[in-house]
Symmetry: C2
Subunit: 326 residues, 2 copies
C-alpha cells in the first residue's frame, strides 16, 4: 500500500467505520431480495469515496450536527443505483471481481433495485429538511442519466473529440463528486464562497478520477481493476487514451487501431499491441498529464480554507486520484 | 363516449390544457434523443389522471398559488418513468397502441430515460421548497419499485393469494394516486384532516383503477386496451380475475386453467375459453364488486369537504374508474 493511502486511511478510519454502519442501517428495504441485490453492489469493497468526501466537506465547513454520516449514504446509494443501471447499459460482466447484478438476477431486478436505491438517496436527502439539497441531487441525477445516454449515442464513434469526451465524463462522473462536496457545504450552512470552492474541488477531483479510471483500463490487470481488462474498448467506449492515441498515431497505426475499435472480438495480443502504441505515441503520458492538471485545480480550489488536518486529507485524496493503484 | 366522461371532460378541459402545456415546457432535456423517448411515452394519449387529481386536490383545499399545474407534472413524469421501466421488466410489446420504448430504442435507453424522468419529477417537486413533499415522493418511489420486485418474484405462482395481490397493487399503483392527492393538500397547506381524507380518496381510487385495469385485460379487445389482449396472462401476472377464477373453479377446470397459466404460448381459443370460465364462475362479477367497494370508500373519504363543483368532479372520477371503457 502506498504511503499516501496509509496516511489517508489512518486519518479517516473512524469516518469510514461510521459510514459503513450508516449504509447498512439506512438501506431499509421491505423485501429480502432487494436487500440482497442492493447489498451485492453496496457491500463489495467500494472505496466509500463519495460519502467520505461529504463527511470531510461538512467538517471543513465547521458542521457540528449529527446527520453527516447518515446524509453521506445518499450519494453512495445514488452511486450504487447508477452502477446497477450502467452495468446493464454497458453489458458489463464483472464489477469489483463479482458478476454484475444484471447477470446474476436479470435485467429487471437490476433496473428496479436501482430505482429503489435512487429513491433511498432522495429520501435520506429530503430528511435534511432542505429542499435545496434535494433539488441539487435531483438535477445531478438528470445530468448523470443524460451523460450516460450521450456516451451510449457515441459508442464506437471514432470521431468523438476530446472536448466531447470531457463533457460526457463531467456529466456522468464529475458532477456527482461536485454535488457530494456542494451539498455538504449546504448542510453545514457554509458561505456561498466556501460552497463554490468545495464544489470546484469536487468537480475537478471527479474529472481526475474518471480520466485515471479510463487510463487504468489500458494500463492495469484484471485483478487490480476488479473487472475485465480492455472492457472499455470491448464496449466501444471512446475514452481519452484512445482519442489521443488515434490523434497521435501515423496513418498505418491509426488504420489498424480503428479496426480494433470496430471489432469487439479483438485478441489479447491485439490489446497489448494497442497499449504499446498508446505508450509509444505519448498518449498515455498525455492522459496522465490531463489528470494531473485536474488534480492541481482541485487542490487550488481549496486555498481559501485554513490549513487543518481535514484540509490535508482532502488534498491527499486529490493526489490519490491518479496514484491509487501504484 | 359515456355521459360520465363527457361531464368530467367538460369540467376539467382548461386544466387538462394547462397540464399539457406544463408537461412539454418542464421536460427540459439537454439531448434530443431524451426528448424523443420521453415524448414517446409522455405524449401518446395518456389520460393525465394523476396530474388532474393533483390540480383538483389542491383546488379542493383552497390553493391560491400558481405552481399547481407545474407541480402536477411531477407525478406524470414519475408515472412515465415507471411505465418505461415496467414495460422493460414485463417484456411488454405495446403501450397505448405504440411499440414499447425498450423495443424501439433498446433496454439501455429505456432505463436511462426512465431515470431522467424520475429525476425531473423530484426536481419539479423540490422547487416547491418543501422538503416534506419530496420526502413523500421519494418514499413513494421506494414503495413502487419494491411493489414491482414483489410482483416479479411471484410471476406465474398460482398460489398468490388475494391479500398478497392487493398488497402488490397497493404498492405499485395505489400509493401513486394516494401521493398525488396528498402532496397537493400539502402544497395547499391544508389541515392534517383534509390531507388524510384526500390521501384516503387517492388510495382507494388507485386500488379501484388497478383492479379495473386487471379486469379489462380479460374483458376488452386490443384496440380498446391499447395493448395486446391477454398480456397479463402471457406475462404470468396473477391478477384478481385469475386468482378468483382458480378459487371458484371445479377440479377439472382448475387443472386446465393452471396449464394455461403455466404455458405462455396459449392460443386465442384457450384465452376465450378461460374468459368464459371466469364469467361463468362469477370471478368477473367478484372483481367488479371489489372495484366498486374501493370506489365507494374513495367517495366516502371526501365527506368532510363542502359540496363544490370540484368535489363533484372528484366523485365522477371515482365512478369513472370502473366505467371508463363502456
Amino acid at each position: 500500500m502506498s504511503d499516501l493511502k496509509v496516511r489517508i486511511l489512518k486519518a479517516v478510519q473512524p469516518d469510514l467505520d461510521a459510514i459503513e454502519t450508516a449504509l447498512a442501517k439506512n438501506l431499509n428495504p421491505h423485501l429480502d431480495l432487494v436487500r440482497d441485490v442492493a447489498g451485492h453492489i453496496l457491500f463489495s469493497g467500494g472505496k466509500r469515496l463519495r460519502p467520505l468526501l461529504m463527511v470531510l466537506s461538512a467538517r471543513l465547513c465547521g458542521y457540528r450536527g449529527d446527520y453527516d454520516k447518515t446524509f453521506s449514504t445518499a450519494l453512495e446509494y445514488l452511486h450504487a443505483a447508477t452502477l446497477l443501471h450502467d452495468d446493464l447499459v454497458d453489458g458489463a460482466s464483472l464489477r469489483r471481481n463479482k458478476p454484475a447484478a444484471h447477470l446474476q438476477w436479470g435485467n429487471s431486478i437490476a433496473v428496479l433495485v436501482g430505482d429503489f436505491l435512487l429513491a433511498r438517496a432522495l429520501s435520506v436527502s429530503a430528511a435534511t429538511g432542505r429542499a435545496r439539497i434535494v433539488q441539487i441531487l435531483a438535477e445531478l441525477t438528470e445530468q448523470m442519466s443524460q451523460g450516460e445516454v450521450h456516451q451510449l449515442m457515441r459508442k464506437g464513434d471514432i470521431r468523438l473529440s476530446e472536448a466531447e469526451y470531457l463533457e460526457v465524463i463531467r456529466r456522468k462522473t464529475a458532477v456527482l463528486f461536485e454535488t457530494a462536496c456542494r451539498v455538504s457545504a449546504v448542510l453545514a450552512e457554509a458561505s456561498a464562497e466556501k460552497e463554490s470552492a468545495l464544489a470546484a474541488y469536487g468537480l475537478n477531483l471527479g474529472m481526475a478520477f474518471q480520466i485515471a479510471d479510463d487510463l487504468f483500463d489500458y494500463t492495469l490487470g484484471t485483478s487490480q481493476l476488479g473487472k475485465d481488462v480492455g472492457s472499455d474498448l470491448r464496449e466501444g467506449k471512446m475514452t481519452l487514451p484512445l482519442i489521443q492515441g488515434l490523434k497521435q498515431a501515423g496513418v498505418e497505426d491509426r488504420e489498424w487501431m480503428v479496426g480494433v475499435v470496430q471489432d469487439p472480438k479483438f485478441s489479447s495480443g491485439d490489446f497489448l499491441k494497442l497499449v504499446g502504441l498508446l505508450q509509444a505515441s505519448g498518449a498515455i503520458r498525455y492522459v496522465e498529464q490531463a489528470a494531473e492538471t485536474y488534480i492541481f485545480k482541485a487542490k487550488e480550489a481549496l486555498a481559501l480554507f485554513p490549513k487543518t488536518e481535514t484540509l490535508g486529507t482532502l488534498i491527499d485524496i486529490a493526489d490519490y486520484a491518479l496514484h491509487r493503484r501504484v
